[in-house]
């Protein structure tokens, strides 16, 4: 049976870049280690990070077996633990554009938790501003959580524009946002809105109405959040919405890795950091990899020697498939290069490639 979950899992694989199936599994479960994060970056699997925190190995294997039986996934000739997307698999995916878009555009690592929280906050604020526009004070807020209520109060207090200005600016942001969305998505969002004389709906109710599967419900919600966040972040048109977004921290680098990276920025070398923080060399290495993957402004210059970069560029000319590099083989080329240097170079190049090729979606 090819259900939505299977289609989605299929969309994580690639026709040319082989992937170890167990690494994909770790990502779906959301294991936050230096190696899974690099893997996520190399294969662009951010949509799947911790999407199935409770998925069992057995259930996962069962799904892979179904996809293999259909001929959608094929094992790599050299090593059966690696999988590739077949032509039949590609054809199958083409029939499911939503899952392809989901797979490509969603960053579940950063916004898996923050996204839905942001949407709820935006909807609550919309209700408050709607009631404000009707000068109504007696209404039932769509939250009873202290934290949300307090946040809205603070947000309103901080707003500098007049009440009328706020209402019309907020309305305009909604309008501009909805204009840029696809029909189905716009329908969903308009129906979610609660305001004066309009009670919204929930994704659960949309699920019932449209006969979605449970996974579809979850995915549409995540996808909608992601699209809104993307629009807000890539345009100057949404200052109010952006301030709502800024109030919710997305998942990012761990505190410990950030601390290590701060020392790097201050010019300390690995040995000093080990001593100062009393951590193992391998931990410093993991922290730096995590920082390199997750921080947009990671300073590769501070961690990668120019000579090393030149050497690896030479190697890259021989082995252009950067993400498939094996450390041992690189060592055979130049044994003075460390694992960390190779990994950082890979991250640097993949990020450059991504910037040039994955343009922001509209």
């Amino acid at each position: 049976m090819t259900d939505d979950i299977n289609i989605y899992i299929l969309s994580l694989f690639h026709p040319k870049n082989k992937q170890r199936s167990s690494s994909v599994y770790q990502i779906l479960r959301g294991k936050k280690t230096a190696s899974t994060l690099s893997f996520c970056l190399f294969h662009h699997l951010w949509s799947g990070f911790q999407l199935f925190p409770y998925l069992s190995v057995e259930a996962y294997e069962q799904r892979l077996a179904e996809l293999k039986a259909k001929g959608y996934l094929v094992a790599d000739e050299a090593d059966g633990k690696y999988l590739l997307l077949s032509q039949a698999g590609q054809a199958c995916l083409l029939e499911h554009p939503f899952w392809m878009a989901f797979s490509k555009e969603v960053d579940h690592f950063s916004y898996g938790v923050a996204g839905p929280l942001f949407l709820e906050r935006l909807l609550f604020l919309s209700q408050v501003i709607s009631e404000l526009s009707y000068q109504s004070k007696q209404y039932e807020p769509i939250t009873s959580e202290e934290e949300q209520l307090f946040w809205v109060k603070q947000w309103l207090a901080k707003t500098k524009v007049s009440k009328e200005g706020l209402i019309s600016n907020f309305y305009t942001e909604w309008q501009k946002l909805l204009e840029q969305l696809a029909d189905s998505q716009r329908q969903r969002l308009v129906s979610l809105l609660t305001g004066h004389h309009k009670i919204g709906t929930t994704y659960y109710q949309l699920q019932q109405m449209y006969h979605w599967s449970e996974f579809q419900r979850i995915a549409y919600k995540i996808y909608d959040c992601q699209q809104i966040i993307h629009l807000i972040k890539t345009s100057e048109d949404f200052p109010l919405f952006a301030s709502v977004l800024a109030s919710i921290p997305k998942q990012t680098i761990s505190k410990s890795a950030q601390l290590t990276y701060n020392y790097v920025e201050q010019g300390l070398d690995s040995v000093s950091i080990q001593r100062l923080r009393q951590i193992k060399p391998s931990t410093v290495q993991d922290h730096l990899i995590e920082a390199a993957v997750l921080l947009d402004d990671f300073s590769f210059d501070a961690c990668l020697d120019k000579q090393v970069v030149l050497q690896l560029e030479t190697y890259e000319k021989k082995q252009p498939q950067i993400i498939e590099w094996q450390f041992k083989q690189v060592q055979g080329f130049d044994e003075s290069i460390s694992f960390l240097e190779v990994r950082l170079y890979q991250i640097l190049k993949v990020k450059q490639y991504d910037r040039e090729n994955f343009r922001p979606t509209s």
């Binding site: 839905p116 709820e120 909807l123 609550f124 919309s126 501003i129 709607s130 526009s133 009707y134 007696q138 039932e140 807020p141 769509i142 939250t143 009873s144 959580e145 202290e146 934290e147 949300q148 307090f150 209402i167 019309s168 907020f170 309305y171 909604w174 309008q175 909805l178 716009r186 329908q187 969903r188 308009v190 129906s191 809105l193 609660t194 305001g195 004066h196 004389h197 309009k198 009670i199 919204g200 709906t201 929930t202 994704y203 659960y204 109710q205 949309l206 019932q208 109405m209």
Partner: protein, 485 residues
Amino acid sequence: MTEKTLDPLAKLLQEVFGYTDFREGQRETIESVLRNKRTLAILPTSSGKSLCYQLASYLLPGQTIIVTPLISLMEDQVSRLRQLGEKRVTAIHSQMSFQTRQRIFSQFQQYKFVFVSPELLVQDWFKEQAKKGKISLVVVDEAHCISQWGIDFRPDYEWIPEFLKELDSSVKVLGLTATATQKVMEDIESTLFHQQACHLIKQSSDRQNIAYQVVETEDKTAYLKQFLSQHPGPGIIYFSSKKEAERICTLLQEETELAVSYYHGDLSNQERLVVQQQFLHQQLHVLCATSAFGMGIHKEDVRFVIHYHLPSSVEAYVQEAGRSGRDGKQSLALLLYRPQDEHIHYHLLEQLIKEKEGMAYLLKQPEETWQQYLPKLSSLQQKWLTGYTHQRYSKETLMAGLEQKISERTRHIQDMLTYIHLTTCRRKYLLAYFDSESEGQVSICCDHCGLEDLELETVPVFPRSPLEFSKDWQETLKKVFNQRE
């Protein structure tokens, strides 16, 4: 009591709540709180219990602390108070972020009403704050949770007496509950009030406008569809699992003309409130709810409460059934039964017995080896153990307590089955169960007394399809933000 001294209460009732009359038991409870140090009020569901402490609190100088077992219930009460225009209200519970708690504490003295979950009462930082504040009244909501014999005994509640002891002796205490058998009542008196004299207010649990009916059927959904075609609601159907609530909800949505939605713990706070508002404002006919989350539903004109599964006890049943007919109009409590429905309860009971046996085994081991068993303990077992290690009871007391709890649970199931298989008046059985007396003859009583004359008023419901807003989204958006061109 003279007319004159009654006036301030009635005036306040009018001013704050907009009501002209007290419901039965409310005035007595408020007056008792004002006059006595300790009050235990047993008022049936939907008698407006919370109004009692709210009003009393306005007549007392200091703060009121309300201990509530469930966060959802707590948040619900907070928002209801806010809607009455009360801003000095907050809730503190363990799922809050540290920052939020700090913020609340920094202005603790400003709150008139503070809702807390019981486990916070033993925390030093809370006790400190409570001593600094000026507390006039501590309300123990759902006070039956303190009783080992109650249906939803909460070990956390055992900390309340300890907390009360540390407060100034002038602080008043009010225990509130809807369901208490004689045994539970005695238990509350001895645990909560340390055997000291308390003023008892007890209202008859007889809800005369609710008719009781049990239908034994092999095909519950068929019966349900047939029933709903005649009585479209508003009504609540209770389920014992989320999955079933969802399944039947979808089925009803598809196979009837009614607007049906479900309501359970997987919904976020916002989603729950949205669904609640739809139900409250006549956009839904029927709500499919699980018991735990049905507590926050406050709707006056619920015409029927149906139990799709067997409730775990008569207490639970009466509480849930009591959510119908708050407006006093004719309502129905219907229980659907299929032979062997009780199996799930016996299964749960067996689990409890296993947990008890595991506990007995652990307690026989040397204490220094307990550490290795900890990861294997269930959450319930961990709570039991914590109570013991905190010296709140001895091993013997614990085991005896568990024994009794098990026999109690067995009895609860049996009592429920007795109710189902009754051949005589169901109301009489329920009244006897709570040692309550009838308030007089009820014309439409139960299926055994005859329900031929039963008529449930139909409240017009106007379902809204999400699609109607999206057709002309520009227009909808303009309306939401009151934008005219």
